[in-house]
């Protein structure tokens, strides 16, 4: 009895910290970041980084001194990257990561997961607003503006499969979507979810919040060393969780690790192609894109789904 409890605790720790949660999520996030960079480089006629570059970057940043600038709340400055990463890693517990069943699950965890994913953006916004740097302040304003524009359509797009499955629990939606290509029945939702993920990660063309040629690095301008490393790690984690959610909802499930990697990597390649194709949108243009097209289209799809359900039931 006693030893079984200890075993359970050990097993939980293992799955939280090493596999499939924790370290494994971090490393996969870094690997996906490399795929992103390398493939983008290939599309742009460049060579791109070597496979260990993201890992090397993170190790280097972790080893560097973290400069806390004058005029900031030091606790917030140090704490925010930790919160961002913690949010992402917690979200990883609820998704069918690496094709395994989620570590933990409860009804309505889809909403919790989506809000945990938003932790990154919120922390970025706060981190920017916390400093006195003018580039950071403009970046923070843009980050939060972008959050308000993509969040609603992104949520609605992920709720589409939930509506079809009749559940708000990721495990159940995923098993419902198993073998069903919702991509073809809800194409708008799929598209909006993908672009919403790009907005969340501030990838081109939705990278106005960190537009290098205008505001240097946006909200993260003052970050160096450990804080920057943690923010980058949490971006990787967010990327991989977002890909997992979209793949398991829209691409007929990720029942085993093999399918998981094939499908999420295929999704990532779509993201990369979109990144290579477009020029950066100004912040007003991306807000307009979301509210004028994204939200309306998703709502139209929702209306269609509701009418369809009314007709068929």
């Amino acid at each position: 009895m006693e030893s079984n409890t200890i075993k359970d605790i050990l097993a939980s720790c293992l799955s939280l910290l090493l596999f499939p949660g924790g370290l494994f999520v971090l490393l996969t996030g870094l690997f996906y970041e490399w795929v992103d960079r390398k493939f983008l480089a290939q599309l742009q006629n460049r060579i791109g980084p070597r496979w260990f570059q993201p890992v090397a970057d993170v190790i280097k940043l972790l080893a560097k001194e973290e400069v806390v600038p004058e005029g900031v709340d030091a606790r917030l400055f140090i704490g925010l990257p930790i919160f961002a990463l913690a949010g992402g890693l917690t979200a990883a517990l609820y998704v069918p990561f690496a094709g395994l069943s989620p570590i933990t699950s409860f009804p309505g965890d889809l909403i919790v997961t989506i809000y945990l994913l938003s932790m990154l953006t919120l922390c970025l916004g706060l981190a920017g607003a916390n400093t006195l740097d003018r580039f950071s302040l403009v970046g923070a304003t843009r980050t939060l503006t972008q959050l308000f524009s993509y969040e609603a359509p992104f949520l609605l797009a992920l709720l589409g499969p939930a509506f079809a499955a009749g559940s708000w629990e990721i495990r159940e939606i995923a098993s419902f979507a198993e073998g069903r290509w919702l991509l073809f029945t809800q194409p708008i939702g799929f598209l909006v979810a993908i672009i919403g993920l790009m907005g969340k990660l501030e990838l081109p063309p939705l990278d106005a919040p960190e537009a290098e040629t205008e505001i240097v690095a946006g909200a993260l301008t003052e970050y160096s060393g450990r804080g920057l490393a943690l923010f980058r790690l949490s971006k990787g984690v967010t990327l991989i969780i977002g890909l997992t959610l979209i793949a398991s909802f829209y691409l007929a499930g990720v029942a085993n690790p093999y399918l998981f990697f094939i499908k999420t990597l295929a999704l990532l390649l779509i993201l990369v192609v979109l990144q290579a194709l477009f020029a950066r949108l100004r912040i007003d243009q991306s807000v307009g894109l979301w509210w004028r097209y994204g939200t309306i289209l998703v709502l139209i799809q929702w209306l269609g789904m509701i009418i369809w359900r009314g007709v068929t039931v």
Binding site: D133, P205, A279
Partner: protein, 398 residues
């Protein structure tokens, strides 16, 4: 970095060190939210004292110094200087040398405009176009290298002629390269005029109408994109341009898109001229003798650099060292338009508007001393200037 957050104004400094700028320059942008309400430019971060330095070097040495004013359009600086000095010395340059000068000048224009296309695309966040245009720019860089041995600072000119010749192999190489570039340029013209996302960043942004362009004194492609017919190659053909006339490229829209279109269309004009020159290169000598001491006198030499009119004033006192050389580069003429056009646009458009004039900051930095009250003219020695510079920066800690 200090912050001056007040309710009325929020200023964003672009530069002197900023990823959007390839050279140091300071733009102080006052914004209301994202809208620019005021823009101030401060020049002078890369003043190198080239003009003063010319006064202690002889005519030949100055050629190599002046070539280094601009890393991108080095040849046109040397050409402007050579034309001026040759005029003072009343020397006629052989036609073959004149044609080769124009040939290299047009190749330099291609390399400069392609470079600009990439930089401008990067400012718009369109890195794919940036990488592709710079890859294709390598073609012209390779051609310049096989022509002169150097990718930049080709140093083709000498006083009284040129030092490179073009044989049949080189001619064929140039024609092949131009053929490839022309195909690619058609593609780029297509991209900048039809890519919907890119057009959102260029169409209707930074519009400068014709009268504004004239009042602000803009030159070069920036002026031509506002339908101002200003092109020294057309107005006052110098060198071999008299034999190879240029058709001026104009656009009446005056926005950023027009500046893209004008520069890309100018490439076709350059391709045409290069082809013509390569096919009809006059035979003859490459250089003519020029005296070591230049006759006393002064002259003005104007040429069309890739960025616009480049102006040289040269004064000789009859020795082997010039008395005064004054250089005015096109960026300084176009700079005021940036400050003017940025107002009312979004902060995100400012780097695009800055890059729209194809700025070359370190070329334009001059020292001007305004001495109010005293109506007295005086010259500065090199030593006094140096001391003044040291004292200035001690009094103005940065």
């Amino acid at each position: 970095m200090h912050s001056d957050k007040t309710l009325e104004s929020f200023t964003v400094p672009i530069g002197p060190q900023h990823p959007a700028l390839k050279e140091p320059e300071h733009f102080l942008i006052t914004v209301d939210g994202e809208i620019v309400t005021k823009a101030v430019v401060r020049l002078g971060y890369a003043h190198r004292g080239v003009e003063k330095a010319t006064e202690s070097r002889n005519w030949v040495q100055n050629l190599y110094l002046l070539e280094r004013i601009c890393g991108i359009c080095s040849h046109i600086h040397a050409t402007a200087y050579c034309l001026g000095v040759e005029q003072l010395a009343a020397v006629e340059v052989p036609p073959r040398a004149q044609a080769i000068r124009v040939l290299v000048a047009e190749m330099e224009r291609i390399h400069s405009h392609l470079l600009w296309l990439g930089v401008a695309a990067h400012e718009a966040g369109f890195d794919t176009l940036f990488m592709y245009s710079w890859r294709d720019r390598e073609t012209i860089m390779d051609l310049l290298e096989s022509l002169s041995g150097n990718r930049v600072n080709y140093s083709v000119n000498v006083l009284g002629g040129v030092k490179i010749d073009i044989d049949d192999d080189l001619a064929q190489l140039i024609l092949d390269g131009i053929h490839y570039l022309e195909e690619r340029t058609h593609h780029y013209l297509d991209v900048v005029t039809s890519d919907a996302m890119f057009l959102q960043r260029t169409r209707g942004i930074g519009v400068m109408n014709r009268s504004q362009a004239e009042v602000l004194g803009t030159v070069g492609p920036t002026a031509r994109a506002s339908n101002v017919a200003r092109d020294i190659r057309v107005e006052a053909p110098y060198g071999a341009y008299a034999n190879y006339p240029v058709w001026i490229t104009l656009d009446e829209r005056g926005d950023l898109e027009a500046r893209f279109v004008v520069r890309i269309k100018e490439l076709f004009e350059s391709f045409r001229i290069i082809r013509e020159i390569v096919k009809t290169l006059p035979p003859g000598d490459l250089t003519t003798r020029i005296p070591r001491r230049i006759k006393a006198g002064e002259t003005v030499s104007r040429v069309e650099a890739p960025r616009g009119e480049l102006f040289y004033f040269i004064k000789s006192n009859g020795t082997d060292i010039p008395e005064r050389i004054k250089v005015r580069t096109p960026t300084i003429c176009n700079m005021m338009s940036v400050v003017k056009l940025a107002i009312g646009h979004q902060l995100a458009d400012v780097p695009m508007i800055v890059v729209g004039i194809d700025p070359c900051f370190s070329c334009n930095d001059r020292m001007v001393l305004i001495d109010h009250g005293r109506n007295k003219q005086s010259g500065w020695t090199w030593e006094a200037l140096r001391r003044y510079g040291i004292e200035y920066y001690q009094g103005h800690p940065r």
